[in-house]
Symmetry: C2
Subunit: 458 residues, 2 copies
């Protein structure tokens, strides 16, 4: 029996987050007038303590004690050597993963939900609104709000709301409220329903609804929360990579390749950013964000200024985007359906520090089942995208006879996603193809936006 | 921030199971002729290496290396201090739990599924049949069989099969096959359907089906596997309590009270037996198996010789039983619907070494939601029964001003049981009451059976 898991004790949890803004140059977000926005412009949407974090370029930021206290309900997360997968693939590669599926909601999402709920509470906020795609984020925020005694209202993309009723139940178990989006409770929702009463919904629309519900609340005690994309979200997620570094150190290893699935970018960034810092400082390391071929934001979308939501409530963000009106085909990785990508992750692609990959739905599930049958755990549909890339890299290592060290994030479990697995096993899933004309059409929306600079940090 | 979790490294996993048969006297199982059965009588049902373990009275039994290897996919399981629950209850009690929900199938069940699959494989068996109630056991055995390359056929009690389609999907993800029971593929199943075509099924019927399918297979390469009740199952589960003891030692604690939910008895026994050994040797400790008031095997059923299944395929076992034809009301803790109880657990009740408790369904869910909102994790319906007892004990400790140490098993997560939570939240759940006449009627089946002796081990 050889050891598989590397634990940190609760006391060894990282006490600071790593802020990549200290190490890269970024284009600023722009307001409706085309000028950089100020913190005050965001005040109706987020509490000021979070806005300050969003724009901070301090390299290390302390994690508040009450946040650490809740995080230790499940963190530090184990680093696991995927020995059974290595054996199944007969690869000389050493494969490690951070198991983020062990949190109460089942994904990495509470890593940022918990500090966000805490900062809102500190600022005197009593209710948080948000959107959710697959339901992972909505459940994470419900869980976090429950820990700090705040109300939580979640707009859930309708296609997922219908496919995964248990996510709503989970939110309710923690006292959250979950509505299908588009709803008839907001201007943005009603407009979307008017355009298409049978729309499956999209993250872009749901974000618009949640922002509107926060901003329009007359008590002033409601704010909005986003589970990905923004700088402070990436910051909070770096605890994944910081733990992983400590754990790799403990066994005298360092990764050659880092892999994470990327929807809005937070799970990928969480693992990768602390290693990107090393790469900026000269370390040799391959870093791959992996996205679905049916929503190829990084691999096919241009680097532009675009809105984060359909109704254009958000500032213009410098990012890779398929266009803020993009509605992807109904593939099953709900967490990877976003039209844009975190500006920080986008900037790293521009700089060539990370190299995006895309995989098809069928390849993703094939890898997911292979891994479930070796490592045991059932991966979330999002995670299977990372797994497809891991399997490719492990086979390449075998072919090249190289003892590579591969590190990836297991972003979540698939226990509430069996509907999709059933379809895969019964042959009902297919590879959605996005014709280039289709992409070009959806990208028209940012033709007249200002253009971001292709900054180089080094 | 105070530490919550006590980890063991993979290397610290226990290397031997504790066999309580070395420390207590037992009535023997009886064959159809009323005489004690021999190992050979069981040979068509189980492989001989497992039968030898079933009748062994060796106190410590080595865990085979390949079994340890698979167990470390998730074990050792963390011991967790439930600090947030303590705070929510404002109790001076220290509450600890073994988190058995972290295994791939989500419960303690693979602790025995893995060794059972291993021993069958060693014996040259190619296919295992079994029954499952809530689906936890069927998924655990599918997972374990997948690890050792054996086929797995699962008969799932129809009411759960319909309520929880995702359990079938989970079994299929690991390559298992799952059928609703009663099925039309066995004599026992067809007979049950003839008696009542709309029967919700029962564990007793499903066991009959699985045994029949194993015994009637003409290749001789099929055997049956049981997920609870039998001695070797309790043996395998003691890894829970043995780990817990090491972990309690590490922090200088010893429990005053031990609590586990009890259906067939294996989750309870797994935690409790290593501590029962201490109690036999003079240690002061309260030990409570907790069952549903609607299936009150230990608290209302007599200690008798009864069959483990409805079709009377199994030997007569000395145990507390509600009668082998008992079909409990359709409450939602599928894993606690069994008419009987492990003979070893039953014997401990007879001897007064452990003290059974029962709780109602509504009290169980109330405790489950309280705990989900403090500790975060969503408990399985079975686990909520233990939680109701934990909450009672913690409140008692507060009232008495005592710093009691309470230790319990978190037998599984409730992520595939949200249907039941939804009903609880919408007020559709009620407390099923079992009239005494009803119990007396179902107990008629063992009136003419031999009577077990009330043995005293001390």
């Amino acid at each position: 029996m050889k050891a598989r898991k590397i634990f940190l004790t609760d006391d060894e949890i990282p006490r600071q987050w790593y802020n990549i803004l200290a190490d890269i140059k970024m284009n600023p977000p722009l307001g409706p007038d085309g000028n950089p926005i100020s913190p005050d412009d965001l005040a109706p949407v987020f509490p000021m303590n979070i806005i300050e974090q969003e724009v901070s370029d301090q390299r290390w930021i302390d994690i508040p004690e009450p946040v650490l206290d809740v995080l230790t309900l499940w963190r530090p997360a184990p680093l696991v050597r995927a020995r059974s997968l290595e054996k199944a693939l007969n690869t000389p590669a050493k494969i490690y993963y951070k198991n983020e599926s062990l949190s109460p909601p089942g994904s990495h999402k509470p890593n940022t939900a918990v500090p966000q709920a805490y900062y809102n509470k500190e600022f005197g906020i009593e209710r948080i609104t948000t959107e959710t795609g697959a339901g992972q984020w909505g459940s994470a925020l419900s869980f976090a709000c429950c820990q700090f005694g705040i109300e939580c209202n979640v707009y859930m993309v309708r296609v997922s709301f219908d496919q995964k009723p248990y996510r709503k139940s989970m939110m309710e178990a923690w006292g959250g409220r979950c509505m299908a989006s588009p709803s008839n409770q907001t201007e943005a929702g009603r407009a979307a329903l008017e355009r298409d009463p049978n729309t499956p919904g999209s993250l872009g629309i749901a974000i618009s609804e949640a922002i509107e519900a926060a901003v329009n609340d007359s008590t002033g005690k409601t704010r909005y929360s986003l589970g990905s994309v923004l700088n402070h979200v990436m910051l909070h997620q770096t605890i994944i990579g910081l733990e992983a570094k400590k754990q790799m150190d403990m066994i005298g290893q360092y990764p050659d390749v880092i892999i994470g699935c990327a929807g809005g970018g937070s799970n990928f960034a969480g693992l990768a950013f602390p290693f990107v810092q090393d790469k900026i400082n000269g370390k040799q390391i391959e870093i791959y964000p992996v996205e679905p071929a049916a929503c190829p934001t990084l691999t096919k979308g241009p680097f532009v200024y675009d809105h984060g939501d359909t109704a254009k409530y958000t500032p213009l963000l410098p990012m890779h985007s398929l266009g803020h009106a993009f509605v992807p085909p109904p593939f099953h990785a709900g967490g990877l359906r976003y039209h844009g990508m975190a500006p920080t992750v986008s900037q790293l692609v521009v700089e060539g520090l990370i190299e995006p990959k895309s995989v098809t739905q069928l390849d993703a599930y094939k890898a997911g089942v292979l891994v479930a049958r070796s490592e045991g755990l059932i991966p979330a549909p999002e995670t299977t995208h990372a797994l497809a890339c891991v399997v490719d890299e492990a086979i390449k290592a075998r072919e090249e006879g190289k003892e590579k060290v591969i590190l990836f994030t297991w972003s979540g479990h698939g226990l509430l996603d069996f509907g999709a697995y059933d379809k895969y096993f019964s042959g009902q899933l297919q590879n959605d193809v996005l014709p280039d004309e289709e992409l070009a059409k959806s990208e028209k929306v940012f033709e007249n936006h200002p253009k971001p600079q292709k900054l180089k940090s080094r």
